[in-house]
């Protein structure tokens, strides 16, 4: 029982990180209709920038947080402006391949700029251990779960009530009609990239806090795929929850079946889910016309 609860809690914690990155995928998919294969790399860059700030400027929590968020916004905007905007109107396959190219560039750029060794992100918190009913939990793990839930609520409210959120939904649903209604699609795309970069970046920083920073972090992006697919590519909230589900499944598979299964439990799960619902659990079915 103790073992099960331990697995569930650490599953939730890693799942919350997957959930954050998966939300990053979904935000971009929802407003631009493409899967950003560079999400894991963007997550990683934000975490590395946070680490650089903490070691060179100041280890203060707020300085690091603000710096990392600003950097993530800038990264999202630059990528949108330089790489994605010229591809507007091209087929989806081409734009998705561009993000794959981007992922390759970012990944090697990280190895090139920083080094290939793991680093610990130390900002004086997140590594302390709290005992909940006899089970030790890191404060960073609690914080990431809370952050995910708070962001889920905030994003739900944003898409439901704010004018910008409604505009984003409009562009996602039908960009031409949205343009006719006076919504600037390019602004919405830029906003989506910035938002996605920040949300995923938060996930990256939390990962670096609880575990370590290393060039293998881009695999978080691959791990978050099952979460997004499970939730449905166009369901932002579903993706967040999908992350939790994948995290728990992975940990249970790793704990009870074998460590090899841990790596692929999520992938095995999406193949099963997609066979039953080819558009994810919370996703909307596309209706196509010839």
């Amino acid at each position: 029982m103790q073992y099960l609860i331990q697995l569930l809690i650490s599953g939730l914690a890693i799942g919350a990180i997957y959930g954050l990155i998966a939300m990053g995928f979904a935000v971009i998919y929802k407003s631009t209709g493409l899967v950003n294969f560079a999400q894991g790399e963007m997550t990683m860059i934000t975490a590395y920038i946070a680490w650089t700030i903490s070691t060179t400027v100041s280890g203060n929590v707020f300085v690091v947080a603000v710096g990392a968020i600003l950097a993530a916004v800038l990264l999202g905007l630059v990528i949108e402006r330089l790489v994605m905007r010229p591809m507007l109107g091209e087929p989806v396959f081409a734009t998705v391949m561009v993000t794959i190219g981007l992922a390759v560039i970012l990944r090697s750029a990280i190895n090139f700029i920083w080094d290939a060794y793991p680093h610990g992100l130390d900002i004086g918190m997140g590594r302390g251990i709290v005992h909940l009913g006899g089970i030790g939990v890191r404060t960073g793990q609690i914080a990431v779960i809370v952050t995910l839930l708070a962001l889920l609520a905030a994003i739900w409210a944003f898409f439901r009530y704010s004018k910008v959120g409604v505009a984003m939904r409009a562009v996602a649903a039908d960009d031409r009609t949205a343009l006719l209604m006076g919504i600037s699609a390019t602004k919405v795309h830029a906003l989506a990239w910035a938002a996605s970069s920040v949300i995923a970046g938060i996930g990256g920083v939390f990962f670096a806090l609880s575990y370590d920073l290393s060039p293998a972090m881009f695999q978080l992006g691959l791990k978050a795929f099952p979460a997004t697919i499970l939730g449905g590519l166009d369901a932002v909230l579903g993706s967040g929850l999908g992350g939790l589900l994948i995290g728990i499944t992975e940990n249970l598979a790793g704990g009870y079946v074998g460590s090899g299964m841990k790596e692929v439990a999520g992938f095995a799960m999406i193949i099963v889910v997609l066979m039953i619902r080819p558009f994810g659990i919370f996703g909307e079915r596309d209706i196509e016309r010839v």
Partner: protein
């Protein structure tokens, strides 16, 4: 020089090559390739081997992604399955290499049925991610099946001896690769002009319309998966022999991306494109290295320390630039040049 497609009958539409001079140039190229192993030094020969092996694999992916329009991000899964099938059959159970090659084709083809069947309902990005999932699952399966695959330790592979001919030397092995590459090229060109190939292209261009025309989507998609996996598996076996060692690490996920990059750079859906793309992508890092060393020793030093990183950055950049400025790839560029040449000084 001919510039466009001037077809007057259905027979011309499905001809293997579109004009007689192409036969001549193909023959010249073939002779050059046959002479190459005796003229090149071993360093250049290793590039030739890699190009020939990669062409085989790229042509395999081209059937699935180029012809049928099913994006696969997990083709390295078929590559590694083929390599292991060969290694297990030949090195572990001492079967003749020909049986090994057959197995290297058949085993990935069977695996592709397993991944293809659930993928029939999926399209576009969902399919791409399922194939990605497949390549990770196959890696884990290989690592777990230790009794068969030696797990993470890998399997040593010898250069084969087929029908009494030893392919131990580099030159001989290049001929083997050349034979496979030429055979694959011939086979894929023929598939493209057959009834099956036209059905593939119809599915790529509009699957709903293709279905209305009476094309059995499921059967043809599965057929595309199986053919593609068969060819890719054989390329995997050749690559395993080239490395003389088969392990999961020898087939990194980046190879899947590289294969897609080759198709894009060459021109999606064209066999000629797959060949041109392979030559460009394989030689790109070497060409850049030469260029850098021409400029200064300083830059050369940077390149040596960060060589791997710069090489991958270059891949990414080339993919993006081609998609942005020449989405039809090198083949498209070639068509543009031909048109400009004939119509000059008029633009169209």
């Amino acid at each position: 020089m001919r510039t466009g497609d001037y077809m007057q009958s259905y027979g011309e539409l499905v001809a293997l090559v579109d004009s007689p001079p192409v036969w001549l140039w193909s023959a010249v190229l073939l002779l050059a390739l046959i002479a190459a192993p005796h003229l090149l030094n071993s360093y250049a020969l290793s590039f030739l081997m890699i190009i020939l092996i990669t062409v085989t694999g790229a042509l395999g992916l081209n059937i699935l992604t180029g012809y049928t329009g099913l994006i696969s991000l997990g083709h390295v899964g078929f590559l590694v399955t083929g390599a292991y099938a060969y290694a297990v059959l030949v090195s572990k159970y001492h079967m003749p290499p020909l049986v090994g090659f057959l197995g290297a084709g058949v085993v990935p083809a069977l695996a592709s049925l397993i991944v293809g069947a659930p993928s029939l309902r999926l399209k576009g990005l969902y399919l791409a991610i399922t194939t990605l999932a497949f390549s990770f699952i196959i890696n884990t399966v290989i690592l777990e099946m230790r009794w068969l695959t030696n797990g993470a330790r890998g399997i040593q592979v010898q250069r084969p001896e087929i029908l009494g001919i030893s392919f131990d030397s580099d030159a001989a092995f290049t001929y083997l690769c050349l034979a496979f590459a030429a055979l694959t090229l011939f086979a894929t060109l023929n598939i493209r002009r057959s009834r099956v190939g036209r059905a593939f292209v119809a599915i790529r261009d509009n699957d709903t319309a293709a279905r209305v025309m009476g094309i059995n989507l499921h059967a043809y998609k599965l057929f595309a998966f199986v053919t593609s996996a068969f060819i890719t598996g054989i390329a995997g076996a050749l690559y395993g022999i080239y490395l003389s060692f088969v392990s999961v690490e020898g087939f990194p996920f980046l190879l899947s991306i590289e294969a897609l990059a080759i198709l894009i750079v060459g021109g999606l859906g064209s066999a000629l494109g797959a060949v041109l793309g392979t030559v460009l992508i394989v030689l790109l890092p070497e060409a850049t290295r030469l260029l850098f060393s021409l400029f200064s020793a300083q830059m050369d030093a940077t390149f040596t320390t960060g060589a791997q990183e710069l090489k991958s950055m270059l891949y990414g950049l080339v993919i993006i630039l081609f998609l942005r400025f020449q989405p039809r790839g090198l083949v498209g560029a070639w068509h543009d040049i031909k048109r400009t040449w004939v119509h000059w000084p008029l633009r169209y």
